[in-house]
Amino acid sequence: MSKDAPPKTEEQQPPATNGGRRRKDLRKSAYDMTAAGAEHVVERRTLAVLVDNEAGVLARVIGLFSGRGYNIESLTVAETDHIGHISRITIVTSGTPMVLAQIKAQLDRLVPVHQVTDLTVEGPSVERELAMVKVASTGDARVEALRLKDAFRAHVIDATLDSFVFEVTGSPEKIDAFIELMRPLGVTEVTRTGVVAIKRGQEGM
């Protein structure tokens, strides 16, 4: 196929005068634009999404994130209005401001989505996560675990002679800290709900 290349023709070249010079000049301005640079700061956001609780709705939301390459750091969902069949999905995500705006617009575009609220930017909000942490130990470690749980206002929700299950509620950071603290005392299993969040003050979503 080496002879396959077409003959090079001079005729199709543009007159170098006008087009050629202009091209060079303007390329400079394009590089200036790059130097000015768009913001690439990655931010973390908590979104509350109200959806019709119908078959496939969670798959639509998750599929949107995976299909478009967005991050999901945490996702929780449950029906919050049994009469209206409305579920609330809380999503913790991250991205540049442009990507975050896209995520909100893309979510809002899904047919069963009623409302998308960015709890991080729309005024103060509170975030909580619940974890259950199983600690299997005896002797001093067991005593220490029981003592430390009070510092985190955790509760014992199951106990045997050589284990506890603690229930702890708080910010994700607090739960991380609790688990790390308990780890040397014999953590054998952890389960976490993911973040739920709500706006402070009297105003509803």
Partner: protein, 582 residues
């Protein structure tokens, strides 16, 4: 007629209540009850395709040529999976399609039953919305909702999956639109403050340009009329995307041609150098912008779009206006006029544009006896422009040449696969257009490789007396792939030519069509005239120069003002970074 009926009866009744006249489909086990009802009635015409992909593209062609939704009926499993390509195609080009698919009975779902597929799972990302109807009481309401969602807001494809037992169960029929759902309410009216801001920018602009897209055509006839009035009364230049061709008349002096990767020099230079860009129903697609950080660096940008997710997706804009094109243009035009139709003198801008135009970027060198593909398209245009013509295309070089050399004076006359770039789109799309406009001249500008992907649909054309014309630019190559290999991959032509092409004239005869071949420049006109005069499906084998490249071209990774205008400018034009892009 009682409101009590079977699911299958409901489907047909709902289609009639939605004003459906034509369905494109293919029967199979899981839709037999619906086909039985189609058999018993007269109002809806069914067109039997040869492959479900053909049904989808035919429906797309029908929808684009009429402004009405295209309806597809397929069976479960392979019937549904075969329609995935047209659904994604319609999603990317915002074409309203309602696809009804059969499904195995509800009690077999999840059992790996014969011809079972998770159709709603497979089609979820390639539809605007989809439904699996498990209860016959929900069926008619769902179909009405499907039509509403497909045709309103930013149009798109939807799919309703109907298990066979639901088709056979009796239930109550609901009339259209008794209760539209609360969570779906596209905004059609633009914010008046934003419209005011836009008009203020318009009044100050010295180097403005209208950048128009398929959204104008989707918005309807009124949007086209308003756009034309607006462009003419401002005196600003206007360019269109591939999808927008026809929204502004192609032969109008204010039209600077298509923009983008294979757009005209003047359109792309004007986009790059403008100080105000008025984007109407277009989406800053990567084929349009080229290198994104060098895209029109010095301009203010107004963006009118009905889909909020199109705003600031690729390019940050200064004045976003979310709303329907017709509604927004009406407000904008009224405000601009009531302000006294103020504008700056744009004559200097026009003289710059005229200099770019004088480059004559679409000039090509005649090939002597050998037909140049550009010349073939130019002659096709000249000889068909006074007819009532509709053009569809496949995907590749021929598509770009058609977009460059054919001037579209009206909307809905040009059907091409823009976003997805689906080879095999044009032949079935032409069939869909011909079903909608039986007496018009419908031509599929094709490449031989694309045509081979869906050519079985010529059987459909013959069966229903649809005199579509397949105009093949036959270079025995995958022309656009070959062009990229030449420019980006060291002229290593890996698998981009066909060694076993059919004789298209004999193929035409075998399928019951008329075959015509043109091999030399001097026989071209007569052959095209023959094709036009034949009132039967024609396969026209136009044998063209094998190694012609499509120019102008913005190479991947380059800016609008770094266009390649011909063979001599291609040396080292694309670097490694560019070669990694699509």
């Amino acid at each position: 007629m009682s409101d009590l009926m079977t699911g299958a009866e409901m489907v047909v009744k709902a289609l009639k209540d939605q004003g459906v006249e034509v369905v494109f489909g293919y029967p199979g086990g899981a839709v037999l009850p619906i086909y039985d009802e189609i058999f018993k009635q007269q109002g809806i015409k069914h067109t039997l395709v040869r492959h479900e992909q053909g049904a989808g593209h035919a429906a797309e062609g029908y929808a684009r040529a009429t402004g009405k939704p295209g309806v597809v009926l397929v069976t479960s499993g392979p019937g549904a999976t075969n329609v995935v390509t047209p659904l994604q195609d319609a999603l990317m080009d915002s074409i309203p399609i309602v696809c009804l698919s059969g499904q195995v009975p509800t009690f077999l779902i999840g059992n790996d039953a014969f011809q079972e597929a998770d159709t709603v799972g497979i089609t979820r990302p390639c539809t605007k919305h989809n439904w699996l109807v498990r209860d016959v009481e929900d069926l008619s309401g769902t179909i009405h909702e499907a039509f509403h969602i497909a045709t309103s807001g930013r149009p798109g494809p939807v799919l309703v999956d109907i298990p066979k037992n639901v088709q056979m169960t009796t239930g109550t029929y609901q009339k259209p639109n008794s209760a539209p759902r609360k969570s779906y309410a596209p905004k059609v009216k633009g914010d008046i403050e934003r419209v005011t801001d836009a008009v203020a920018l318009l009044e100050k602009a010295e180097r403005p340009i209208f950048y128009t897209g398929g959204g104008v055509i989707n918005s309807g006839q009124k949007a086209t009329e308003l756009l034309r009035e607006f462009v003419r009364s401002t005196g600003f230049p206007c360019t269109s995307t591939l999808m927008g061709l026809g929204c502004y008349p192609g032969s109008d002096p204010q039209f600077v041609g298509m923009l983008g990767m294979h757009g005209t020099y003047e359109a792309n230079m004007a986009m790059h150098d403008c100080d105000l860009m008025i984007c109407v129903g277009a989406r800053f697609d990567d084929r349009i912008t080229g290198r994104i950080d060098a895209f029109s660096p010095g301009s203010k940008k107004i963006h009118i779009d009905i889909d909020p997710s199109s705003i600031n997706k690729n390019v940050a804009v200064d004045v976003p206006i979310i709303g329907d094109v017709a509604h927004v243009l009406e407000d904008m035009l009224r405000l601009w006029k009531s302000n006294g139709s103020k504008k700056k003198d744009v004559s200097a801008w026009w003289s710059t544009i005229e200099e770019w135009r004088a480059v004559d970027c679409l000039a090509y060198k005649m090939g002597g006896k050998t037909i140049k593909p550009q010349h073939a398209i130019k002659r096709l245009y000249e000889l068909t422009k006074d007819h009532d013509t509709y053009i569809t295309t496949e995907v590749g070089q021929h598509q770009m040449w058609a977009a460059q050399y054919i001037k579209f004076e009206e909307p809905n006359r040009w059907m091409t696969s823009g976003g997805l770039g689906t080879m095999g789109y044009g032949c079935p799309a032409a069939i869909g257009v011909q079903v909608a406009h039986p007496d018009s001249l419908v031509i599929d500008v094709a490449g031989e490789a694309s045509f081979l992907m869906t050519m079985q649909e010529m059987g459909t054309a013959v069966q229903y007396d649809l005199p579509v014309k397949i105009f093949i630019l036959n270079n025995e190559r995958l022309g656009m792939v070959r062009q990229w290999q030449e420019l980006l991959h060291g002229e290593r032509y890996s698998h981009s030519w066909s060694e076993a092409l059919p004789d298209f004239v004999k193929l035409a005869e075998a399928m019951g069509c008329i075959g015509i071949r043109a091999e030399t420049t001097d026989e071209l006109d007569d052959a095209i005239n023959d094709m036009i005069s034949i009132d039967r499906p024609v396969i026209f084998d136009c044998v063209v120069e094998k190694h012609e490249n499509c120019f102008p071209m913005i190479p991947s990774g380059k800016a609008h003002n770094e266009m390649l205008l011909g063979e001599a400018s291609t040396e080292g034009a694309i670097d490694e970074k560019g070669a990694a892009l699509v």
